[in-house]
C-alpha cells in the first residue's frame, strides 16, 4: 500500500470533508436539509481550522 504524506492543512480539510458528509447524511430528515447541514458543517470546520491556525501562529510569537 502506498504511503501518503500530507500537510496539517490537507489532513484537516479531508477530515472536515468526510465528517461533514456523514453528519449531513445522518442528521436531517430531507435531502435539501442534509445538503445544507453538510455544507454548513464543512464551512464551520474550515473557519475553525483557519481561526485556530492563526491563533497558534500569533500565540507562538
Amino acid at each position: 500500500m502506498p504511503k501518503l504524506s500530507v500537510t496539517h492543512f490537507e489532513a484537516a480539510v479531508l477530515f472536515a470533508l468526510f465528517s461533514s458528509v456523514v453528519l449531513g447524511v445522518v442528521t436531517k430528515k430531507n435531502d435539501r436539509d442534509r445538503l445544507r447541514y453538510g455544507l454548513r458543517c464543512f464551512a464551520y470546520f474550515i473557519v475553525a481550522l483557519f481561526s485556530i491556525g492563526w491563533l497558534m501562529y500569533l500565540g507562538h510569537g
Binding site: K3, H8, F15
Partner: protein
Amino acid sequence: MANESSVSAAPATRSWGAAVALAWIVPGGGHFLLKRYGRGGLVLLSVALMFLLGLMMRGAMFHPQTGDLLTVIIYYGGFLADLANGFLYLLSVWLGYAQPDVAGHVHDYGTKFLVAAGLLNVLAMVDVWEIATGKKD
C-alpha cells in the same frame, strides 16, 4: 385523557438488529438494506475512504490496555472506535496490518482518521436504528 398514540410497544429487536449489525460490518450496509441507497453510498464512501487514508498515513490501531483511568479510557475507547469500522478493521488486522505508534504528524493524523472513521460509522448505525424503528424516514 391518555394519548394512545404515545403508548406504543418497542419494536422487536429482530426488526432492526439485522440492519444495525449489517451497518456495523459493512459501513452503509444498513442503509442499503433499508433501501436508502444514496445515503448508504455516501456513508460507505466517506467511512471507507477515511479508513483507507488512515492506513495510507500509517496510523496506529489501538489495543486495549490497563493502567490509570485515562489510559484505560483512551486505549479501550480507541479500540472500540477502530472496531466500529467493521470488516475494514477486521480485514486489515487479518491481513497483518500492525503499525507501531511512532512520532510524526502524518502518523498521528492517520491514527485519528482510523478512529474517526469508526465513530462516523457509529453515527450511521444510530441513523439505521432510527430508520428501522420508524423514528426517522
